[in-house]
């Protein structure tokens, strides 16, 4: 089973040279720590920045420089700042290559629910709707199950849906999954020490396991 940091490390391997990427709040934010140095990639913050750098040194905190999670950040060389309409023009216009988002649930046909909901009340829709409707390749990072043990990989989403048929791959603490064109979660990789039966037990939606499923490497 992977820790959240390990899920982030695994996702970082999906990143290709030259990509512009939007990272959501939670596990996706951690991905930034594991992007290999030799790759040229740019991180977008949808409140108006291309070129997110690491968290600042405490002496360099700037209240006028925050990310979409309202955390203080820094900028890398070659950054640019813009307004919120321009930020979403970039997303909607297909200029962002990849979006890595957290989720409450994913359905077997690739629908995603990831709105912040507190005791039945939707607390916000934020920027996710634009990201899931864009041309950005959508990767989902989440724990495989809710705290009560119920699966987050479902036949159909139970929470309100943020986007339909938009998820490309899912990265959980148990494995990596793609969405099959005909519907269903295709298991691509297992987390170290996790066997396919455990994944089957914890996946409510249709799970497809074909042949030998490789165990992820590099987490020993």
């Amino acid at each position: 089973m992977l820790s959240k940091e390990q899920i982030a490390r695994r996702i970082a391997r999906e990143i290709k040279d030259g990509q512009y990427i939007n990272l959501g709040i939670g596990i996706p934010t951690l991905v930034a720590n594991y992007i290999p140095d030799h790759l040229q990639v740019v991180l977008q913050s949808e409140n108006g920045l291309l070129g997110i750098g690491p968290y600042p040194q405490s002496s360099d905190i700037n209240p006028d420089l925050v990310n979409a999670g309202k955390e203080t950040i820094s900028m890398v060389k070659g950054s640019s700042l813009f307004d919120s309409a321009d930020a979403f023009a970039m997303i909607r216009g297909g200029h962002i290559d990849m979006a890595i988002l957290g989720a409450l649930e994913v359905s077997e046909n690739g629908d995603i629910s990831n709105w912040k909901i507190t005791s039945g009340l939707i607390k916000g829709v934020g920027g996710a709707l634009d990201l899931v409707a864009s041309d950005a390749k959508l990767l989902v990072a989440m724990l495989h199950c809710h705290k009560d043990g119920s699966s987050k990989l479902l036949k159909q989403c139970k929470f309100p849906v943020t986007g339909v048929r938009c998820v490309h791959k899912i990265f959980t603490d148990l494995g990596v999954f793609s969405i099959l064109p005909e519907g269903g979660f295709k298991l691509l990789e297992r987390a170290p020490g996790v066997d396919p039966d455990e994944i089957r037990n914890k996946t409510e939606g249709r799970l497809v396991i074909k042949g030998e499923i490789p165990e992820m490497t590099g987490f020993q």
Partner: protein, 231 residues
């Protein structure tokens, strides 16, 4: 040039009344019109409609207006960090319209730019699409969305000049330029107000035409919602 300078926040908001529709700049607590919000709180208006990406926190930003029960309806994309909001909403005292952030930004941009409606893919398949016109273009589905305009826009910039030209700083720009263009009366508060001619025309983010009143605020707190540092 046209001189837009007013004395202070009180003077700037003099004709905002009960029931006014307001655009309020900022993202979270970053780049919010602190002085304008404080002046509104002192004026203690009722029945405001506020369009703001967020609802602030309980004791800062738009949260201050919520606390005094000045807001009748809130139009926002995310209202997470605010307990006051939740209580009033559950008690049925507050209307809420949630709009996807990109759609909110584009609708306000459309209001300023004279575009009454446009199509966007955001929201297709979600419950936010209910009751909206859906149309296919080039094999893909889009929702029809309307412009947003308001009686007043309150925006915050870093530098401004007496002609109303504004320059923002960092990610404190966010919704401010869009809102400046979509307010019938736009009130800009700045950290530094300089005479017209001192700002480089090539570096202006909001041209003065969009700003009806400008003043220099004082004592900006610039509260940070989440302080995060590198080890």
């Amino acid at each position: 040039m046209i001189n837009k300078e007013v004395r202070d926040a009180e003077d700037a908001i003099r004709d905002i009344t009960d029931g006014s529709v307001l655009l309020l700049g900022g993202f979270g607590l970053c780049g919010i019109p602190e002085a304008g919000i404080q002046a509104l709180v002192r004026k203690n208006l009722k029945g405001l409609t506020c369009i703001s990406n967020n609802a602030g926190v309980d004791d800062f930003g738009v949260g201050l207006l919520l606390k005094k029960r000045m807001i009748k309806k809130l139009i926002a994309s995310y209202v997470g960090e605010n307990k006051e909001f939740e209580d009033q909403y559950r008690a049925g005292e507050l209307e809420l319209e949630l709009i996807p952030q990109g759609t909110l930004a584009e609708r306000i941009r459309a209001g300023g730019a004279g575009i009454p409606a446009f199509f966007t893919p955001a929201g297709i398949g979600s419950e936010l699409a209910e009751g909206k016109e859906i149309r296919e273009f080039d094999g893909r589905l889009y929702l029809l969305e309307r412009w947003i305009k308001a009686d007043f826009a309150l925006v915050k910039a870093w530098k401004g000049d007496t002609a109303g030209n504004l320059i923002y700083k960092g990610t404190a720009r966010n919704f401010n330029p869009l809102m400046a263009a979509a307010g019938k009366i736009t009130i800009a508060e700045v950290e530094q107000l300089v005479p017209a001619g001192e700002l480089d025309p090539n570096q202006i983010h909001t041209p003065g035409i969009y700003v009806q009143r400008i003043f220099q605020g004082a004592g900006y707190e610039k509260r940070i919602e989440n302080i995060t540092v590198s080890p």
